[in-house]
């Protein structure tokens, strides 16, 4: 029983990280049709920015951790806004060029991070409580898992509130459904594009700081390794669906953890199999729009 509980919470923690990356990916694709391969770079920059906060202040207390979350989110948001405004905006409706430019940017960003922070992983210290465990039904669950889960739930609630209760949220929901009709109502949908990129980048940057604590290190490849699974989550959840991304993130991560433990380390294979089954039997994803 304790193993199941431990796997469950580890899976939920990992699912929280997947969700933080996939939420932005899903909204960006849903609204703009952009398959953003640079999204992992937003996460990595956020992780390094958060680590720099801890390093430069020389402190690992809760205040600095919270500050690192803010700085990480801000760094991810700024990088994402820059990407949309300078690179993507010129390429609306040119999907191949958009894909190539985000792919190129992700490679260039990794090279840039290598140049600045080196290729070796940088190990992270957080508040001492992170290193402790909490006993639940006999399982000793690392505390950092709870932080990831709580942060992801708060981000999900904040995003849902924003989408449901603000005019820009309404524009984004409408744009995900029918972008040209939003424009035909006299709305400058480009502002919504920039906003979605910025929000997605902030979530990824926040996820980067949390991922560095979850895995215990940050490296230039951190974002890329999470991005692959975030794409899978996005497709399974349904492109453009925030709730779908949340459900799929949890499902994928928990499945991955259980398969790794009980099926001889086949977690990645099982996840890809799940993706294939979804594409075969429900191509629009769990909660995506039907084509």
């Amino acid at each position: 029983m304790s193993t199941v509980v431990l796997l469950l919470f580890t899976g939920l923690g990992l699912g929280a990280l997947y969700f933080l990356v996939a939420a932005g990916l899903s909204l960006i694709y849903g609204l703009m049709g952009v398959l953003n391969f640079a999204h992992g770079a937003f996460l990595t920059l956020g992780a390094f920015a958060g680590w720099e906060v801890a390093r430069r202040t020389g402190s690992d207390d809760w205040g600095i951790f919270l500050l690192s979350l803010l700085v990480g989110a801000a760094a991810g948001a700024a990088f994402a806004a820059f990407t949309e405004f300078v690179l993507i905006r010129r390429l609306y409706q040119r999907h191949i060029e958009q894909l190539l430019i985000t792919l190129g940017l992700s490679l260039a960003a990794v090279a840039l991070f290598d140049g600045i922070w080196g290729t070796d992983p940088v190990f992270i210290q957080g508040p001492a409580w992170f290193k402790d465990t909490t006993e639940i039904l006999g399982a000793r669950v690392p505390n950092d898992r709870f932080v990831c889960i709580i942060a992801a739930v708060l981000v999900l609630l904040a995003m849902v509130f924003f989408l449901k209760n603000t005019r820009y949220g309404m524009i984004i929901r409408a744009g995900v459904e029918n972008r040209s009709m939003v424009t035909a109502l006299g709305i400058d949908v480009r502002k919504a594009f920039t906003l979605v990129f910025t929000i997605g980048g902030a979530a990824a940057g926040l996820g980067g700081v949390l991922a560095s604590h979850y895995f215990g290190y940050v490296s230039p490849m951190l974002g890329g390794s999470l991005l692959i699974f975030a794409f899978i989550v996005t497709v399974i959840g349904g492109l453009g669906s925030l709730t779908g991304a949340a459900i799929a993130a949890v499902a994928v991560a928990v499945l991955q953890q259980f398969a790794n433990f009980y099926l001889g380390g086949t977690g990645d294979f099982v996840v890809v199999l799940a993706l294939a089954l979804v594409l075969l039997f429900r191509p629009s994803g769990l909660l995506g729009r039907t084509s």
Binding site: R167, M170, A174, E177, S180, T183, L185, G186
Partner: protein, 271 residues
Amino acid sequence: MTAAAETRPILRIEGLSAHIAGQQVVEDVSFTVPATGITALLGRNGVGKTSTIKAIIGLIDRTGAVELDGVRIEKEPTFKIIRSGVGYVPEDREVFSKLTVAENLRLAERDDAPRRQLVEDLFPDLLARSAQMAGTLSGGQQQMVSLARALLNTNKILLVDEPTKGLAPKIVAEVAETLAEAAKTVPILLVEQNLHVVRQLAEGSVVLSGGRVVHTGSALGFLDDAELTQRLLGVAAEGPARENSQDNARENTGKTPATTEAAPAGKGAAL
């Protein structure tokens, strides 16, 4: 409005061509829409009526000149063209199915003082259904949402694309009544396959064939010419249904001299 402004067309299209995925769908189209009443844009299925409407507001790639109330707008992005005073009611309604009726309407509000009372008066049913997801409405109710979105704002012209398509006769009559009411305050360019509705509402007509303008003139004058209607639309128009239609026809024919060119090889009619 001055006399000069009243006689100046509200919309002038000159040499408009449009492409979708590299395929030419509108070719060298030129026509004008007067500043009052309803002008019908007619033609067989697939001749480019919807594409012409979309090209006017820049929803598809196009070349040529588009002048709204004396101002060239073809270089502007779609949202600015709409904000300059164009209301658009698309074919197939295109309501946002996952937004409520109230959200669909709020999204369309662009004026500082949107005409909510007018919309409530015209579509009381929408008020009762304001919290309902637009995707769960019937086709007729969705059409009311689509029309209401355009009527919420003060426009210089409404572009209305097949508003009665797929609707029950009773709803068609309601839509026609709404358009007639709207036309008292704003000129309308109407794409419509239902010739009974055209006869009932339209004063002027522009007929497309093969992506080009082949006839312009009075709507009733056109519909009363059975041979011309059969040749350009492939159907025989029904008999007069509008009161004083003969008078109207004479009046409109007087206002808008008919111009017909051979279809489909005809060039765009002169402005």
